[in-house]
Symmetry: C2
Subunit: 327 residues, 2 copies
């Protein structure tokens, strides 16, 4: 297969900013990106979380999401994806109160939503293998062939079409609006969200042991660091969650992290001891197992303007989600 | 101290290429660069190596180098630095035959020179601390204050003034010219040289043990990899040498590596398991020891056009220096 740019032709523009790699760069192993239909301009990623003994969110039609997933960390999270923001707006106008309204508040239960609607120009995905899309990529038409912009630091930025012309800098900061137990977080220009996942369902024997014994604990330590101490380096919130199918945990997990900026995420990934340790452990694992490695890795990364964000927390524990940025 | 760019004002130009970092980037710890006088346009780094029972090179005046150092790896190496290429040309014309001429050839002795004369636009240095310059930096007038472009992948490139406008891509390849036991290596546009050193003379106790037990062996393994298998990833030659003072080894070492391109060096540094291991070990060491760490680190990196290179090997072992690229 010949190599292609992660940026699709219809989003390719005259550059005012340079990629990190030369035109003849050849990545050492293949990776792939989701290819939404060119008609898709903007996607909606809506995280609906619940705390306490309550049911997870559901998404009845019309105008319901194209894809829904469930996961559990400290909270039970339903994640819904739309590739039509207008449909989402109609849906949310009709159903917001069923999740966040005063009428559904009950003792011991907290509910929240964290919603991002990045344009396709300000968003990228990356998958280590084909055939099992997760997250927003499930909405996509198809996948790319092997792409050029990966396996180097800066590849994430270079895969985002907006990087051709824009530094994607953050500006301003988050702010809180309290109304009793209801808290809204005022958005911030340039906020960045990464969902970074791993799927070890296909592993067995020694490979499975290697992943669970040598990689996962290092990953968990990095996730704990971001959750507990991330605000010092621009990570507003980090959740490390296990994917649920039919309500039961499966061999898939992901980190869901809100960052002040793409930039802050880049800095942690490439130079913080906790991520260098994750990278080193993953590299050792892949070197040991070789090209036959069956762990699947993927991520989705978005940068958003302030009007592409919505955050609301009702009766939630202190430190839930973006509230952690104010602790 | 306020932060300054690694690129001095007199070499700052209108950019056509972007730095990797935003303008408000603040590195997590300080590093410094050598500041040659603005009158210096080009430097000469001349490595004179000898194999077998023979004396190292000497550099009698007039027109002699501004600084000379000695080191031992597989060969005994004298390194001489000039900041006036015309003076070097006069010196080398007068003294080349004393080192490489047929008249001084003797059984069991190999001699070589590897000479690079990068312009200041195509060259950079980085030091973790002030007060003990090594290598080409000894020629410099002074040192900078803390610079902005470091502690991220791509900082090396961003410190080279030419990166403002030029991708510094390699073109063509090296070639051999044999004449019996005398071999010249025809140069290659975009060749890259890095001298990357460490000085643990000031360490003692636990810190010294940490360096020698946990860091040095990992560094050595990476150096061995580059020496033995580097050609597959664009490293033409790697030497890991110990600095000599008055002929005796001291607690300072450096890696001296010739690369096909700056680009190939970047790729190894940021993603090859051997350097990720070095980086991880160094980071663990620095995290353990903290800001009081007394190991000093530095490097100098140059990219050169073909007419800024000269390589000659007389009666040398197979695989000496750049000859390794042809094995």
């Amino acid at each position: 297969m010949s190599i292609e740019s992660a940026i699709p032709p219809h989003l390719t523009t005259d550059r005012t900013r340079t990629r990190r790699i030369p035109d003849d760069y050849a990545p050492p192993y293949p990776s792939f990106v989701a290819r939404p239909a060119p008609s898709v301009k903007q996607v909606v990623m809506a995280y609906f979380g619940v705390q306490g003994a309550a049911e997870p969110a559901t998404f009845p039609g019309p105008d319901g999401p194209g894809h829904v997933e469930y996961a559990r960390g400290e909270d039970l999270i339903a994640t819904a994806y739309w590739d039509d923001p207008a449909a989402f707006d109609r849906w949310f106008a009709a159903h917001r109160a069923e999740w966040l309204g005063d009428a559904v508040r009950e003792p011991g239960v907290g509910r929240w939503v964290e919603i991002l609607r990045p344009t396709v120009e300000a968003h990228e995905t990356l998958f280590s293998s084909l055939g099992r899309p997760e997250g927003v990529a499930v909405l996509a038409d198809e996948f790319s062939g092997p792409v050029q912009e990966h396996a180097y630091w800066g590849g994430m930025r270079d895969r985002i079409p907006l990087s051709q012309t824009d530094p994607m800098a953050a500006a301003g900061g988050l702010a809180l609006e309290h109304d009793g137990g209801r808290v809204r977080v005022r958005p911030q220009h340039g906020l960045c969200l990464i969902r970074s996942g791993q799927d070890w369902a296909d592993t067995d024997g020694e490979e499975r042991e290697l992943y669970l014994r040598d990689v996962e604990p290092v990953l968990r330590a990095g996730m704990d660091y971001l959750r507990d101490e991330g605000s010092a380096i621009g990570c507003y919130s980090n959740r490390y969650v296990t994917v649920l199918e039919d309500g039961a945990p499966v061999d898939r997990s992901y980190g869901l992290s809100w960052w002040r900026s793409l930039d802050a995420l880049e800095r942690w990934a490439e130079s913080h001891p906790t991520h260098v340790a994750i990278f080193g452990a993953a590299m050792k694992y892949l070197t040991t197992v070789g090209p036959a490695a069956r762990v699947r890795l993927y991520h989705e990364v978005s940068v958003a303007t302030a009007d592409e964000q919505y955050f609301e927390y009702v009766d939630c524990r202190p430190g839930t989600g973006l509230l952690a940025a104010f602790e």
